[in-house]
């Protein structure tokens, strides 16, 4: 008997007690993944478009707060060669970070605060106002966001419904907080919510069973609506990239 026979028997015993999911369930998961990939490819294509052509568009926006200057990110026009040629999703964290930087840095009349972090800075994801919003989460983390700016937290839940409830709980907790005054508002077309205080702005985006929170320091309050939308779409693209890599 090999010295590794007990180990083999142990893993076989544990494996034999596992009940494999029904094959149809795996097929459903694959189907859902395929559907989501189609949507994400469109959103990521829009992000790549921003990275390439954002400068031109930003020039036309000086002094304006008009939203939707990207057009409709989820359905890039087939008549636009620029969008088509740029429709490859960013393929690395570096590219995704660059795309986010481009979105954040070109916002007209809105600037990121890159000075020292104050003592009372409230990092919403797990700060004093967050409460117990992640209750029931089965995974999670936070750290620096891709690119140059901000922090990002993620909480994964067993189901999309639980993630949705948690995101709603998080928004309510922020709204009712007294230590930091957070204001919240829905972001057009994306299903995401924007929260902003005197020191920061946070995007709260649920994708399937996951809630992502991206926070950037600013003293300018909510960014232009177009930037709100683009960042929310970027978050969906980033979530999908993470799941596939």
């Amino acid at each position: 008997m090999s010295e590794f026979t007990p180990l083999r028997e142990a893993v076989d015993a544990v494996a034999s007690r596992s009940v494999p999911p029904d094959f149809a369930e795996l097929k459903r998961r694959a189907t859902r993944r395929g559907r989501r990939r189609v949507v994400i490819a469109a959103a990521a294509g829009a992000a790549a478009f921003l990275a390439v052509g954002g400068g031109l568009a930003a020039g036309s926006l000086r002094g304006s707060d008009q939203p939707l200057w990207v057009g409709e990110p989820a359905t890039p026009s087939s008549e636009s060669p620029t969008v088509q040629e740029s429709a490859e999703p960013p393929a690395s964290p570096y590219a995704l970070g660059k795309a986010l930087d481009t979105i954040l840095e070109k916002a007209p009349g809105w600037t990121i605060n890159d000075g020292p972090v104050g003592d009372g800075y409230d990092y919403a994801f797990n700060g004093p106002c967050s409460g117990n919003w992640t209750e029931g989460a089965t995974s999670g983390a936070d750290g620096a966001a891709p690119g140059r700016w901000g922090g990002m937290g993620i909480a994964g839940f067993p189901t999309a419904a639980q993630a949705s409830d948690a995101a709603a709980r998080f928004v309510e907790n922020l709204k009712s907080c007294t230590s930091t005054e957070w204001r919240t508002q829905p972001i057009a077309r994306t299903g995401a919510v924007l929260a902003f205080s005197a020191d920061a702005v946070a995007w709260i985006q649920r994708t399937d069973d996951t809630v992502d929170v991206l926070q950037v320091r600013t003293n300018d309050g909510a960014p232009p609506v177009g930037v709100q939308v683009e960042v929310a779409e970027w978050m969906v693209a980033y979530r999908t990239w993470q799941e596939q890599n």
């Binding site: 893993v11 544990v14 596992s18 795996l26 983390a141």
Partner: protein, 160 residues
């Protein structure tokens, strides 16, 4: 047609792959996740799976890569948000837990080669190929891993 072939593969290979990945990850829950995800990816790309010389080996490689990626991510995340990171779930109440815990104490690189060589019966060359390692590195890890695991088992489970 491909779905039927993959379903047959699922029926024949799932538990074998699960045992191997329990060895690789040291966690039954983690192994379930990555093996199931490997099959989902196979359903996503059926030709890649079914045209492979050895479809089960294709699934194993995908599952091992997923486990490595998830482990790296988990390691990065533990220090950042400890209250959110899932603890390993263990439902075993017998000596298997001790064995798995001993396995989990090995450095990840050693655990992978031990599992693939001694549980998946791959040659050292196949292990190195699966993990993207030079063969010499695979041999060295296997040697160190055997020594470390034997020491752990003797020290912590003298009855084994």
């Amino acid at each position: 047609m491909s779905d039927i072939e993959i379903q047959d593969l699922y029926a024949a290979s799932y538990r074998r792959l699960l045992g191997q990945l329990i060895g690789v990850t040291g966690s039954a829950a983690e192994a379930e996740d990555v093996v199931q995800e490997a099959f989902v990816r196979g359903l996503d790309h059926p030709r890649r799976l079914l045209d492979a010389d050895n479809p089960e080996a294709w699934l194993r490689t995908v599952a091992v890569n997923l486990a490595r990626s998830r482990w790296r991510r988990a390691q990065r995340l533990v220090g950042l948000a400890p209250r959110l990171v899932e603890e390993p779930r263990e439902s075993d109440t017998d000596g298997n837990v001790d064995l798995l815990q001993a396995l989990r104490k090995l450095p990840g690189g050693q655990r992978e080669v031990i599992a693939l060589h001694h549980l998946a019966d791959l040659t050292v060359e196949q292990v190195a190929d699966t993990l993207g390692l030079p063969t010499g590195t695979g041999k060295a890890r296997l040697s160190r891993g055997r020594t470390a695991l034997s020491t752990l088992l003797v020290k912590e489970m003298p009855h084994v």
